[in-house]
């Protein structure tokens, strides 16, 4: 993971793709979001989604999974080069989360993250605050998911 000083507005990174299977969709939904269109193909077809659709929270959680996994892969590479690695802090939240199109069983979603704003933390001078636009695009190139997420990122100078 990069330090706050390494980030620039407009930087974009692809963080990987994920295929949502019918079983995976139903497993997440059974635990957290058992609405009928997330659990049953026929109910999904009859709904506004037009097929068995992943819970929006499943889509958001998978985006997080890929962001974290990709960050850890980069950290491992940096460590192998003998560089110091940045351990990112928690997130105070997000805004403008949009489930733009349904994610249906069999869809492969590619996620990306683009730096939208950078500012200092007044209360915590050793941290900077990043806003990133995280998006998901399906195999047809259609945007399905977008969120403006905030995170604390450590400064190199104070670590």
């Amino acid at each position: 993971m990069r330090f706050f000083e390494d980030l620039e507005i407009g930087q974009r990174r692809e963080v990987g793709s994920f295929t949502f299977t019918a079983d995976g969709i139903k497993k997440f939904a059974a635990q957290f979001d058992p609405q009928r269109f997330h659990l049953d193909e026929e109910e999904g077809r009859k709904s506004l989604f037009g097929g068995l659709a992943a819970s929006g929270w499943h889509v958001g959680s998978v985006c997080m999974k890929l962001l974290v996994t990709e960050g850890q892969r980069l950290a491992k590479e940096a460590l192998a080069r003998g560089e110091k690695i940045a351990i990112w802090g928690p997130s105070p939240g997000f805004r403008e989360l949009r489930w733009i199109r349904p994610v249906l069983a069999g869809d492969t979603i590619s996620f990306a993250s683009e730096v939208e704003s950078l500012r200092s933390s007044e209360k915590r001078p050793e941290w900077g605050i990043l806003q990133a636009r995280n998006t998901g695009t399906n195999q047809r190139g259609e945007l399905v998911f977008s969120v403006l997420a905030t995170a604390f990122v450590p400064r190199r100078s104070n670590s």
């Binding site: 635990q31 957290f32 819970s55 959680s61 805004r95 941290w127």
Partner: protein, 155 residues
């Protein structure tokens, strides 16, 4: 009876829970979706900004979804949600927390693009047993209108 747009009016709607969150389920969610050391490893977590093992914010959101489902969405003519206007993680989720969810209807109106439906915007706050707010969310859902009322207004 299934709840439709007519059943939602601005103001306090309901309080749901408590829902206990175990260490095991916190770790299982983090391992699958958010494998940061602060959510998986006691030692790393104690050195993190949150000073102790905490649950993934996405786990907290997913639990809030389930509490909303069990509380009212499961018996609402819901057609899904277009998104979340704002979500704030205010304090860490800890192993063994007993969560309650307070729900308020911020706005309820007929949809302009699909007049047989309405949009209900909820504000939800999840608190732990000490009453500390862990998470706040403002999110709309699309809800069907009662057929007779929608038909009368259309005619």
């Amino acid at each position: 009876m299934t709840l439709t747009l007519e059943d939602f009016s601005p103001g306090h709607f309901g309080t749901y829970g408590p829902r206990r969150v175990t260490r095991e389920e916190m770790l299982a969610f983090a391992a699958e979706f958010d494998p940061q050391p602060m959510h998986l490893d006691e030692e790393a977590a104690s050195r993190s900004m949150l000073k102790g093992l905490s649950g993934s914010g996405w786990h907290l959101c997913s639990i809030m979804m389930r509490m909303m489902f069990d509380g009212y969405i499961g018996r609402t003519a819901s057609l899904g949600s277009p998104g979340v206007n704002e979500l704030r993680w205010l304090a860490p989720l800890r192993p063994g927390d007993d969560l309650t969810l307070d729900v308020e209807v911020a706005e309820a109106r007929v949809s302009r693009s699909r007049p047989e439906t309405g949009i209900v915007t909820f504000k939800g706050v999840v608190r732990n047993a000490a009453g500390v707010a862990l998470c706040e969310m403002v999110s709309p859902i699309i809800v069907r209108r009662r057929a007779d009322i929608a038909a009368k207004q259309a005619g």
